[in-house]
């Protein structure tokens, strides 16, 4: 069998298998790939995963097919022709240049694709640090107003909703600065709304992973890590800690829900009223909080007597949103 025969046969099988596998994946598996489509970030990240998979499948199939072919056709047991050494078997300029060119082009295209998706999608739901460079429209104003204590949010006005995520060993709590800065362990979000998660920690590094929302941002002490997503479906979602934070890391999870804007408004206003007595003991809303001398989070929650509650300047450095 001459050279072109091997390559032609391999190429034919490869093209057929790859096209079939790609089509099957894209139409059968693709729509179900995590994290689903609950938010715009989830939708675009699912799309990105599927694009990568469609590129990866032919690579996997190509190499595996070649290995299988070699095992079957070029086995010594089969008693084929003796291999031929010499210069031709040591280098092949065409093959080498083609390999390097193709892999380089694919890799650079992938990096370009990832970069475009990252920028267009405002950080793709990942933690963007205290000063996000790719914020969605209206986010900076909403965040600045929230910190100043005069942020507002109401249904049908297409406003960005800032939500603060406070991680500590071993739970998440949430503060809603546009509703008087109340703190709760329930994460309720309005549908069709851009959410600006402001993630911070009171002790060690955690990671806020709202799985179905496709949001993941590390919670670092004294750092405000901002991540954006826009809800587009109502329903429950899971929140897990995705950075090892000590013994009970495995049980640091809870559930949130996306509800209609009206329902959210109702919930937020009633919780704000119900929590008002507690909220006044909380430190003023800030992007980050420093525990006082009594130890981690010692001064953060009211203990009734010992710790006087200080002003924002002492408890946490205010950082502008951008």
């Amino acid at each position: 069998m001459n050279e072109t025969h091997h390559l032609r046969r391999l190429t034919t099988i490869w093209v057929v298998l790859s096209v079939a596998a790609d089509l099957l994946f894209w139409f059968l598996v693709g729509p179900h790939v995590p994290p689903g489509r609950m938010t715009d970030m989830a939708t675009s990240n699912q799309f990105d995963f599927n694009v990568l998979f469609v590129i990866a499948l032919p690579v996997l199939i190509g190499v595996w097919l070649y290995l299988a072919y070699a095992i079957v056709v070029w086995s010594a047991k089969r008693g084929g022709p003796e291999p031929v050494g010499g210069e031709a078997a040591r280098t092949n300029r065409t093959a080498q240049v083609a390999w390097i060119t193709i892999t380089s082009v694919v890799v650079i295209l992938l990096a370009a694709f990832g970069t475009i998706e990252l920028i267009v999608n405002h950080g793709s739901g990942g933690g963007e640090g205290p000063n996000p460079v790719w914020s969605p429209a209206g986010a900076t104003q909403a965040e600045t107003a929230a910190l100043a204590g005069n942020g507002t949010w109401s249904p049908n006005r297409n406003q960005v909703l800032p939500v603060q995520v406070i991680a500590q060993q071993w739970k998440f709590t949430y503060r809603y600065p546009t509703f008087g800065g109340f703190e709760t362990s329930q994460l309720v979000l309005p549908n069709n709304t851009t959410i600006a998660f402001n993630v911070t920690s009171l002790d060690v590094i955690h990671s806020f992973w709202a799985y179905q929302l496709s949001v993941k941002a590390d919670a670092n002490p004294q750092i405000n890590d901002v991540a954006f997503t826009k809800t587009q479906q109502t329903g429950p979602f899971t929140v897990r800690c995705s950075e090892l934070c000590g013994i009970w890391h495995g049980s640091m999870y809870n559930y949130g829900s996306v509800v209609s804007q009206q329902k959210f408004m109702q919930w937020a206003q009633s919780t704000e009223a119900a929590n008002a007595a507690n909220t006044k003991y909380l430190p003023p809303f800030a992007w980050t909080y420093v525990p006082d001398a009594n130890g981690a989070s010692g001064g953060y929650y009211p203990d009734g007597t010992a710790t006087p509650y200080s002003t924002a300047e002492i408890y946490g450095a205010k950082q502008p949103a951008s």
Binding site: V63, G85, G86, V107, S124, P132, V204, S214, V226, G250
Partner: protein, 652 residues
């Protein structure tokens, strides 16, 4: 015991001294071994503990324990110093510092040489095999414990705190093992033989690298009696700052192992650069040596960062500094940055030697020259250079330098280009070959299968948008097990089956080897492939409990992991069976390799080559008419030539 007279390069001490023998030449001083090391290690431990308590009594307590952290640290520090003193690692520098003539280390014959400070690279190589297998076996037992706990999300075999200690210990021990698993045993044993040298450049530093590796094993396992550490192998601060005394074992353990890594890398790199035989030009250096050179460069250049990071951590815990304590002006990002600046080159320290081994094995079992040799060597150097520019892809979601993410995405994806060269080399070599499926070849082919999955999933991880879902979960866990275990460990097995006949003079049993290979290959994939799906379905790493609907996949993975454990028992059985119970003498060159390491006498003489060989061409001229000779060994004008006729190639 006999003193060797065959090392003209080392000044033999003792002779010429007048009446009184200086203390640096006395028998008690030079004939040290593991026994004295253990005793002095224990003495050092007790002394250090006393000293620490004395100088910082009362104020440097570890959180959550009644123990003084300086005492814990000093105990381990002086234990290692005592160990090194006891094994004889410090004889030479102490004698030099005292202005005395240092004694040569004893060249002992027989079993006891493996328990001494041997400067013979072949002894060190065999010592390393036992050392890394010890690491691997204990780390593997911990892995079995992890999979046992994950059998059920609700029924717990271990408490949450025990589980996190097991996970952390498993990760750390395995990482320490993986940095040395090839460069230690095979690198030390084979590099001088492959480049035609009689010795390493710095034999004492080489022996030092092994014995401090053993000390590292003791230090990292001291974490368990100290109560373990909760941070995983990544040791993130401030969790690190908050952790109990076991954390000191982690920080100091990495520093100790790090010293060994730097010493090993430095010695091997210098050896390869300076001790090549005449004619061993850079275009004739075996591909395995290229991979070891690239690895040694990474070891030497990347490890100091880890060492410094560990030192900062120890200062935080003992001297109450605040390198990683945010509220006192430090930064939790500092550890992340330092750790991963070391940690990513570390990943390639654990991949490159594997590529070298398969590159060495493929030509032998295909009877073909290594395809695109220069591209392969360039790929390894390219990988090691690029690996210094990708570390922040571990921190994509951390909020650190978010606008640098496109750059790190690009560099990370670029590194798949030189890594891909390994596939070009492999596939080109297989082309129209005549493949003999001996055990080493099977393991080498398995690397190509496994590493491809590991590499391709790495591209998913490097894509920032996709990284949001897969970061910190079982997806990334599976990814790096595919590269390190599926790549490096399979390559290590390939290398052992391939070179043990040269090292021990005995053949490994092929039938048991086949059982070992197939169980390891099948159950490796059945263990780790489901973890990609588990990760995509939302299970974070290092958790002792998980969503109920993931139990089926987790159980499947656990059962496969137990069977994977069985495959290692088969391997150990094969080792014992083939080396001791039923030894079969290995032919001088059982695989008919052209490699220089197979051309010396068997067993390899202490000085490797009677005459330094003259290298005439690279060792890959298989199946070539009128192939040039590989080397002139200078014995009866013996030239090592490629066999060209079918009879000579002798299909197995």
């Amino acid at each position: 015991m006999t003193m060797s007279a065959e090392r003209p390069d080392v000044v033999t001490g003792g002779a010429g001294s007048p009446a009184r023998v200086p203390w640096t030449q006395r028998r008690g001083w030079i004939s040290q071994h593991v026994g004295t090391a253990l005793v002095l290690g224990l003495v050092g431990y007790l002394f250090g503990h006393w000293l620490g308590n004395t100088i910082t009594g009362g104020y440097a307590n570890n959180l959550n324990s009644g123990q003084n952290s300086t005492a814990d640290f000093f105990a381990l520090l002086f234990m290692v110093v005592g160990w090194l003193l006891g094994i004889g690692a410090l004889n030479y520098p102490i004698a030099k510092l005292a202005g005395r003539r240092p004694a040569k280390e004893l060249d002992v014959e027989g079993w006891s040489k493996y328990f001494r400070y041997s400067t013979n690279h072949k002894t060190v190589g065999l010592q390393y095999i036992v050392g890394v297998l010890l690491f691997m076996f204990t780390g593997g037992l911990l892995a079995m414990a992890i999979r046992t706990e994950l059998l059920s999300p609700t029924t717990h075999f271990f408490s949450a705190s025990t589980y996190i200690k097991i996970v952390s210990e498993h990760g750390t021990v395995m990482m320490m093992m993986a940095t040395s698993i090839i460069i230690g045993p095979l690198g030390n044993y084979l590099v001088p033989l492959m480049i035609g040298s009689r010795r390493m450049a710095f034999p004492r530093i080489e022996a030092f690298s092994f014995w401090i590796f053993v000390a590292g094993y003791m230090v990292i396992f001291s974490a368990l009696p100290f109560g373990g550490f909760p941070t995983g192998w990544t040791g993130y601060a401030p969790l690190q700052t908050q952790a109990g005394p076991g954390m000191i074992s982690y920080l100091f353990g990495f520093a100790v192992i790090g010293l060994g890594m730097m010493a090993a890398g430095f010695n091997i790199a210098i050896t390869i650069i300076n001790y090549r035989a005449p004619g061993m030009t850079w275009s004739r250096v075996p591909i395995f040596v290229w991979s070891i050179l690239a690895t040694a460069a990474l070891l030497t250049l990347a490890t100091p960062t880890l060492f410094a990071a560990g030192l900062f951590g120890l200062l935080d815990k003992t001297a109450q500094t605040a390198f990683y304590v945010t509220e006192h002006g430090g930064s939790s990002y500092l550890w992340e940055n330092l750790f991963w600046f070391f940690g990513h080159p570390e990943v390639y320290i654990m991949a490159l030697p594997g590529f070298g081994i398969v590159g060495e094995i493929l030509p032998v079992f295909t009877r073909k020259p290594l395809f695109a040799y220069k591209v392969g060597a360039a790929g390894m150097i390219g990988v090691s250079l690029l690996s210094f520019f990708v570390w922040q892809h571990h921190l994509f979601q951390s909020g650190i330098n978010p606008d640098m993410r496109p750059l790190f995405m690009l560099t990370t994806e670029l590194i798949s280009i030189p890594t891909g060269f390994i596939y070009l080399v492999g596939m080109g070599t297989l082309y129209k070959a005549k493949i003999r499926f001996e055990i080493p070849m099977l393991f080498a082919m398995a690397l190509y299968f496994n590493f491809l999955i590991g590499g391709v999933t790495g591209v998913f991880l490097s894509d920032v948008p996709v990284n949001v879902t897969v970061h910190g979960g079982f997806f990334v866990l599976s990814h790096f097990h595919y590269t390190i275990m599926g790549g490096l460990l399979f390559a290590f097995m390939a290398g052992l089956y391939y070179w043990l006949p040269k090292m021990t003079g005995r053949m490994m049993n092929k039938k048991i080897g086949l059982w070992h290979f197939w169980t390891m290959f099948i159950f490796f994939n059945l263990t780790f492939f489901p973890m990609f799906i588990i990760g995509l379905l939302g299970q974070p790493r290092r958790v002792f409990t998980y969503a109920k609907n993931l139990q089926g996949l987790n159980d499947f993975s656990s059962v496969s992991a137990f069977l994977l454990g069985v495959s290692f028992l088969i391997f150990f059985f094969n080792l014992v069976w083939s080396l001791y119970i039923n030894p079969k003498k290995a032919p001088a060159n059982p695989w008919e390799s052209l490699g220089l390491e197979w051309q010396t006498a068997s067993p390899v003489p202490a000085h490797n080559f009677d005459r330094i060989p003259v290298i005439l061409s690279d060792p890959y001229h298989y199946s070539e008419e009128n192939a040039p000779a590989v080397a002139d060994l200078g014995e009866d004008d013996r030239l090592v030539r490629a066999a060209t006729t079918p009879d000579d190639t002798g299909a197995a």
